[in-house]
């Protein structure tokens, strides 16, 4: 899924959720998101950095440079503020998911009644 109108807020949620378990650098993060979503949601791989930088400037993420196999990587990790924000986002998305599930179920019932 790449439709922008359906993707509003999704990259942020996925990034925060994925970084909840461990710190990651950009490439690693994109691969992790692809694996977690069964490749259903494909983020533009380069586009993820603007989201990471914005989340960092909002205080949701923190970054640090780390030397790994001779290359300097920028690792991102969730902050306390990011954890709280993620909890709010998850609740919000759960409400939306429930509402959509209900709506889909409703339309199926209506179609059956007709």
């Amino acid at each position: 899924m790449t439709n922008p109108s359906f993707m509003n807020g999704v990259p942020e949620l996925l990034i925060l959720r994925t970084l909840e378990s461990s710190e990651m650098y950009g490439y690693e993060l994109v691969q992790a998101i692809r694996a977690r979503t069964n490749q259903t949601i494909s983020l533009g791989e380069g586009v993820v950095y603007s989201s990471l930088h914005a989340l960092e400037s909002e205080g949701m993420l923190k970054s640090r440079r780390k030397l790994v196999n001779g290359r300097t990587r920028v690792y991102y990790a969730l902050t306390r503020k990011g954890e709280k924000h993620l909890a709010g986002l998850v609740r919000h998305w759960q409400h939306i998911t429930e509402a959509i599930t209900l709506a889909i179920g409703g339309s199926v019932h209506a179609a059956t009644a007709l």
């Binding site: 791989e45 380069g46 950095y49 603007s50 989201s51 930088h53 914005a54 990587r73 920028v74």
Partner: protein, 269 residues
């Protein structure tokens, strides 16, 4: 590490007012990501050029990458308030610079005076001559070199952030002209505590009532000399500007040639 592959993206972001440090970081991370993608594609069996093409496709084109950054990043202060940086900035820097130079000089004079008192050194014509010479050298450095240093700083800030040329010219010219119209004068009379230190500034001239009786401050008395110094500052700044522009144009030509080479290779695959 320079990333010639993303030169056009960098230029676009800088011209849109994104701060150079954000652009550098974005491009560096994109470069790292690109290298990882190329490696992944090569492990999957793609040859070098095909791997690079696929990696670029996965990363996103310049339009998408620029749009993503521009939609979320804040524009730099210089891009948002150029009038403050290039209009008020030179005045603030010159005032602070000359006040700092003056403060250091006053401190040094007190220290030297205290040290002379402590060792019982009596002021005489010889000490007055050397004192005057040393502090005149310091003052010349402060009033001649500092404005040129500030002008270089203004130029650097403006050109790194790809600001429109009129803003940079305004900032550099203001610094050179006003910098030429300020002066620090010190002379030792050879009498104990008889040194004279005067700050002269054209910036004070419109407000003579503020400087009357202030002692330390006075309006700039030799306007012709000041204008000559301002012209010299402008000429020196102009020469450096020309040299820097020439050097940059050669560098840019090489970078674009390199990029064209990459594009041609990518198109060939």
């Amino acid at each position: 590490m320079p990333q010639p592959r993303f030169d056009r993206l960098s230029e676009r972001l800088l011209c849109a007012g994104i701060a150079p440090r954000h652009v550098r970081r974005y491009v560096r991370e994109l470069g790292d990501h690109f290298d990882d993608l190329v490696l992944e594609e090569q492990v999957g069996g793609a040859r070098c050029e095909l791997a690079e093409t696929r990696a670029l496709t996965r990363l996103g084109n310049d339009d998408n990458l620029a749009e993503a950054m521009l939609s979320r990043a804040t524009r730099s202060l210089t891009a948002r308030f150029p009038w403050a940086v290039f209009g008020l900035g030179p005045i603030a820097m010159l005032v602070l610079g000359v006040v700092a130079a003056l403060g250091i000089e006053v401190g040094l004079l007190y220290l030297i005076s205290a040290a002379a008192d402590a060792i019982g050194l009596e002021p005489n014509a010889a000490t007055a001559k050397w004192g005057t010479l040393a502090f005149t050298g310091y003052n010349m450095l402060a009033v001649y070199a500092a404005p040129l240093g500030f002008a270089a700083l203004i130029y650097l800030v403006g050109s790194r952030q790809r600001m429109p040329r009129p803003w940079i010219v305004t900032g550099v010219s203001l610094t050179c002209i006003l910098g030429g119209l300020q002066n620090l004068v010190f002379y030792d009379t050879g009498v104990r505590h008889g040194g004279v230190l005067v700050l002269q500034s054209a910036l004070l001239s419109p407000f003579p009532h503020l400087t009357q009786g202030a002692g330390l401050f006075s309006p700039f008395p030799h306007v012709a000399e000041g204008l000559a110094r301002a012209a010299a500052n402008l000429a020196i700044a102009g020469c450096f500007w020309w040299l820097s522009t020439r050097k940059k144009s050669v560098g840019r030509h090489r970078a674009f040639a390199h990029r064209a080479n990459i594009d041609a290779r990518t198109a060939g695959t």
